[in-house]
Every structure is written in C-alpha cells, then in structure tokens.
C-alpha cells in the first residue's frame, strides 16, 4: 500500500510541476481550442494546444487561389524569402499563446499574410463563442482589435 501511495505522490508531483496552468484553470485555458472565423470572413483558423501553448493555423480560405496565377495562395509577402513558396492554407499564423487566467491568452504573435508583418497579440474570451483578438506594435495602444466567432463542423 505504501508503495502505491509513493508512486501516486511521485506521479502527482511530476505532473504538477510539468504543467504551469493550474488544474482548475485548465478547462478555461482550453476554451481557446476550436475553429474560429475573423470578422472579415475570408479565412478560418483552427487553434490547438501544443505543450501548454496555443497555436492557430489557417485551415480554410474564401479565395484559396491567387487571382493572378490561379494557383493556391502562397505566403509571398513573408519577409523570410524561404517562406514564399509555403502555402497559406495550413500556415500557422497564431503562435505561442499562453493562458494568463480570466479568459486571457497573451505572449503570442499574430501574422498578417496580407503584408507579411508579425504583431504582438493578446486574446480575450468575450463569451464561449466569441474572441476579442488584438494585434499591436510595442504597446497595446498601437494596435487593432478584431472579433472572431467560433465555428463548428457540420455533421
């Protein structure tokens, strides 16, 4: 019995120290996970959790093809030229968000494929199906907020 208790304590301690977000916040933190649509409606972003941080990738584009080339849109505005041949669909445009509690995720970045710029970003959960996402430069004052709505796949 003592062995079992020791094993349980060891596992509990390891799990506790390996996870920065408290157990009671875990459910709130994961409220960010899902499929979201920015207000412009031209893309859909799927947010997932990878090792305690949250990442969002473009999973759908209203206009998937470049109007000039007719080929799938590429990340041709990226300042990193090696990315110019990367397809926009599948591109991870939200990176490294960490849950801060009270329905807020920060320390992340948002990438704008229209101009190739990456902005600091903070996300707030307005209600379970609505996000307020702000991209900014340096200080939050120099930024712009957008409202994203949660989507679900039709079954």
């Amino acid at each position: 019995m003592k062995r079992l208790i020791l094993i349980f304590l060891a596992v509990a301690a390891t799990t506790y120290f390996a996870t920065p977000v408290k157990a009671q916040d875990k459910e709130g933190a994961d409220a960010l996970i899902g499929i979201w649509e920015p207000s412009h409606g031209k893309a859909r972003i799927k947010i997932d959790k990878i090792a305690d941080k949250y990442y969002g990738r473009i999973v759908w584009l209203k206009e998937p093809n470049d109007p000039v080339t007719g080929e799938p849109k590429l990340d041709k505005n990226n300042p990193d030229e090696s990315m110019h041949s990367a397809p926009l669909r599948g591109y991870r445009m939200l990176k490294d968000f960490e849950y801060q509690g009270d329905g807020e995720w920060s320390e992340g970045t948002i990438y704008d494929p229209e101009n190739g710029n990456t902005y600091s970003s903070v996300i707030k959960l307005k209600d379970e199906n609505t996000l307020d996402i702000r991209g900014y430069i340096g200080m939050k004052t120099f930024g712009r907020s957008d409202v994203w709505k949660r989507l679900k796949i039709k079954r």
């Binding site: 094993i7 390891t14 799990t15 390996a18 997932d48 907020s145 709505k149 949660r150």
Partner: protein, 378 residues
C-alpha cells in the same frame, strides 16, 4: 532501493506516455487534416459581422509618429505695401504688387521641424477613434537690405512661424462596404511664442466623408470640408480615392484637393510616391495686428502652396521607416487679410464673398526637401 527504482520506472512510463500523447496529436494533425471539412461549418453561437476595413492592401504605411525636417532652397519674394482692405478681390495680384511694391528680396532660408503623432484611442473592426498632434515650424532668413520698418520682412527675418494643432479622426464602418469618416482639427498658427500664446491664434477645420470599399484594393469617399489649406478659410468638396493594382505593384493614393500620388511598391519594405500636395495655414502676425483699440484684431498671412514632389519610403528597422521627399514648392497664396475683431473673412473663390486683401505678395518657386523618420503601421 528497489522501491525507489520501481517508483522511478512507473513515473517515467506515465509521464512519458503523456508527452508521447501530445506529440502524437501534433504529428497526427500534420498528417490527417481533412481540409474540406472546414468548408462545411456553422456558427457555434452568434454570426460574425463584417465591416469595411479602414485600409486597403498595398497602401503606404500609416504613420503613428513622425519627426521630420523640411527646407526650401533660396527664392525671391515681392511684398506689396500693407493697406488695410486696400486691394480689391478682382485686381490681378501681380498688378497690385507692381503698383504698390513695398519690399522685395531673397529668402535664403525657409525651413524647420515637423512633428506629427496620430494615436489610436479605440481601434476595433467596427470603430476607430484616433487623436493626433502636429507641430510645424517655418523659420525665415532673408538676404540683407531692403527691409522697411514695420514691414513683413522685419517680422519674419530671423523668426519662425508655427503651427501647433490637435486633431481627432473617427472612422465608422456602416456595413461590409460603406463607411463614414470624420475629422476635426484645432490649430494655432502664427508668430507666437510660449509667452503670448492665446486663442487669437486658434483656427478650426473639419471634414466629413461618406465612402465605399468595394474590395480589398479600392476605397473611395466624397464629402465636404472646412479648410485653411489654401491659406484663407474655405468650404470645399473633398474626395478620397485609394487604389492598388491586382498585382499590387502600383496604386493611387488621393485625398483631393489636399494631395494625390501615384504609388509604386518596390517591395514589402520600400515604395515610391510621385504627386502633389496642397499645404497651407493662416498665420497671425502679432506685431502687425495693431490691437491698439482694445479689439483682438488679426493680421493674417494666408499661406497656401503647391508641392510637386517625389517621395521614397523605406523600412529602417521593424516598424520604423524613413522617407526622403524632394520637389518644387509653388506659391499659391501668401496674401494677407486684416480681420477686424478677429472676424473671419469668407470668400470661397469669390462665391461667398469678395472682401478686399490688405496685402498682395508673390513668392518665386523653390526646390525643397523633407527628411523624416516614422513609427508606422504597415
């Protein structure tokens, strides 16, 4: 010891399994994404509402803060004598000067500091409110000789005209394509110093526009403005037109009659603009305002100038850009009005009035340059 070994092995397997799950999930996402599934979706809660974006793709970067320096090369001036209400509106400017020449000479230096700040107070997809500050200094130095006591040259030589202003801009998208744009501005323009600053230097201007943004590469708007852009106050129609070509290499940026430019996007971090700008203000000259009778009267230089120019903008580092602008400054107006008790004169190109001028002046054209650094939103 055996106990500790068992605990360590159990811990390793359990936590190892957890991490393996995370990475398996990630790897699985890379391999098993069904892209088509994301085309068949529905809103989990309320629908998203789309509003017309304030910008279009490809525009030159919006400037949050700009610090710059501008200088004009030497040019000649001719000033008429100062006669309160002495020059009729219909009289040709050059005839009036030739028949009443007061001073003439060369301006060897015209230039100064330019500061502009445009700070978002509220910036969302459904409403934008910005507050701004601008400061413009124009210092003058004349070649020696030819100054008349009590004349304009004496007032300007070695001194500066200033414009200090606050402005606010509201952008309200009405739906996916229509929007309203409002701007109001309060400027103090003249030869004031911090010691004699007062509301006698204060002037107001404003604009309201209604516009459409049919797609990501085009927006236009029309409206009405009260402006001092040609020196004297005017009520004039205004039109905005911003366009970017389908290949995003070139475009048009225009806010008529204030400015218009052809834009060539060299790449994501540099561009060239070629066009014109109409700039001006009404400057109160304190010493010539003669408030001897106790009234706050104003002698106002109505400066309006056209700048034909080419500008090169380039990213310096991150969100800091620098720009160099060069062109020719062409005189539109440097005439003067005497405002009894500060009451403004409205002519609007003779449509609303034909009040006489108190001074007619002419400035020769001058090459100029402007260097600036900006903190921008690309």
């Amino acid at each position: 010891m055996r106990q500790i070994n068992r605990i360590a092995i159990a811990t390793f397997f359990i936590t190892g399994f957890s991490f393996a799950q995370v990475f398996a999930q990630e790897e699985g996402q890379e391999e098993e994404i069904d892209w088509d599934a994301y085309g068949e979706v529905e809103y989990a809660g309320g629908e998203s509402k789309t509003f017309a974006n304030a910008k279009i793709v490809g525009l030159s970067p919006a400037r949050f803060v700009t610090i710059g320096y501008e200088q004009q090369m030497p040019y000649t001036v001719q000033y008429s004598t100062i006669q309160k209400d002495g020059y009729s509106f219909d009289q040709d400017r050059q005839d009036a000067i030739d028949n009443n020449l007061g001073e003439e000479g060369e301006v060897t230096y015209t230039g100064g500091l330019r500061i502009n700040a445009n700070i978002p107070v509220i910036s969302t997809n459904s409403f934008i409110w910005q507050m701004g500050f601008n400061y413009m200094q124009t210092a003058y130095r004349f070649s020696e000789g030819g100054a008349v006591e009590g004349g304009l040259k004496e007032q300007l030589d070695g001194r500066s005209l200033h414009t200090t202003g606050l402005f606010t801009t509201l952008y309200k998208p009405l739906n996916e394509t229509n929007f309203l744009l409002l701007q109001a501005q309060a400027d103090m323009s003249g030869d004031y110093t911090l010691d004699n600053l007062g509301d006698q230097y204060l002037r107001y201007s404003a604009a309201v526009l209604f516009g459409k943004r049919p797609h990501d590469r085009l927006q236009w708007a029309v409206g009405l403005s009260r402006t001092y852009r040609v020196g004297a106050p005017n009520y004039i129609p205004v039109a905005m037109y911003n366009y970017t070509s389908e290949n995003r290499k070139w475009g048009i940026e225009a806010l008529l009659p204030a400015r218009a430019a052809y834009r060539y996007n060299i790449n994501q971090t540099s561009l060239i603009l070629a066009g014109f700008a109409l700039e001006g203000a009404s400057y109160r000259i304190g010493e010539l305002s003669n408030p001897t009778d106790g009234e706050i009267s104003s002698f106002e230089i109505r400066r309006g100038e056209i700048k034909a120019r080419v500008e090169y903008q380039r990213q310096l580092v991150g969100f800091f850009w620098w720009s160099v602008q060069a062109g020719v400054r062409i005189d539109y107006s440097y005439d003067a009005d005497y405002l009894d008790n500060g009451d403004e004169t409205l002519r609007v190109f003779g449509i609303l009035g034909d009040a006489p001028f108190s001074m007619r002046n002419s400035l020769g054209p001058a090459p100029y340059f402007n260097l600036s650094i900006s903190f921008v939103s690309p």
